[in-house]
Point group: C2
DNA sequence: CCTCGTTTGTTTGTATACGAATATTGTAGT
DNA sequence: ACTACAATATTCGTATACAAACAAACGAGG
């Protein structure tokens, strides 16, 4: 069996590309004092404010234990708030706080700029294939 | 400006797909007592045993601080050993230990099986485009 | 009601990931 | 030989990521 470099494994390629893009996002998100993952959480809340913790985790394909920590930090920085669900005492509802609502357009503009800068590096048909495959791999 | 779900951002798609694939790898790597990232390190060493720490980090597009921790754990589990570089006292050389050499073919077979199982889910032309784009994004 | 299994969110432990600071060593220029 | 800067690996602090264990609350069936 011939020797295969890690750079031939699709899992490694994915990991490397993801780290590269995420680092690029995070460098540019520094002035907003937010990480890329935290931005995804806030984006989800713009779509559905007051969503249940469980549903938020599903929307983000994220482990609940991971989301707990992320919400802890977002709450500490006053980007979101947790409230008890009046209909189920086990459940927690997550809301955007003032600080997120106030900066909504800045966040969004920057995120779309970053996304477009990646997109512009590729032939649009290739990019469509790429995006579709990422969705297919990432689907639940 | 319309509301955009995080699932439309390419960075989120990449992150989600990468986590999914990596989790799949790691579930199957459990019996070998090794993580996906640790497998990449060992694969690199199969190509170039006794490589310099710095070069290993570059080969893996990995931050040195991250690699230090990974080597600590691999060394503790006796998969690799560190040795002083006789030509530069700042530098460290990384070698495979017996335990890695002995299981080389098992590791390789499993990794290729997992890789092929991903690959087989797609049209081969689409997969080629996908792979090429991951390389392009991930290049230094 | 009561009990038992399930659901929900958190906590804990471990493993990446990376910026910043650090200690040590190398090297170029004088 | 000295100085100043550069390169190397580690350490520290913080943020994901996830499995496993946990506490609290729900709900179906008796």
């Amino acid at each position: 069996m011939s020797i295969i470099s890690p750079s031939h494994y699709i899992c490694f390629k994915l990991s490397r590309a993801m780290r590269k893009v995420q680092r690029y996002y995070e460098v540019n998100l520094v002035p907003l004092e937010i990480t890329a993952v935290q931005f995804y959480v806030i984006s989800s809340l713009w779509e559905t404010d007051g969503i249940k913790f469980k549903e938020l985790a599903q929307k983000l394909s994220m482990d609940g234990a991971t989301l707990t920590g992320i919400l802890d930090r977002l709450e500490r920085q006053r980007f979101v708030t947790r409230k008890d669900d009046p209909e189920d005492r086990r459940s927690v509802l997550v809301f955007l706080a003032e600080k997120s609502l106030a900066q909504r357009d800045e966040f969004r503009r920057l995120a779309e700029t970053l996304d477009n800068e990646i997109r512009d590096q590729f032939n649009s048909q290739d990019f469509a294939t790429f995006s579709r495959m990422l969705d297919q791999i990432g689907q639940d």
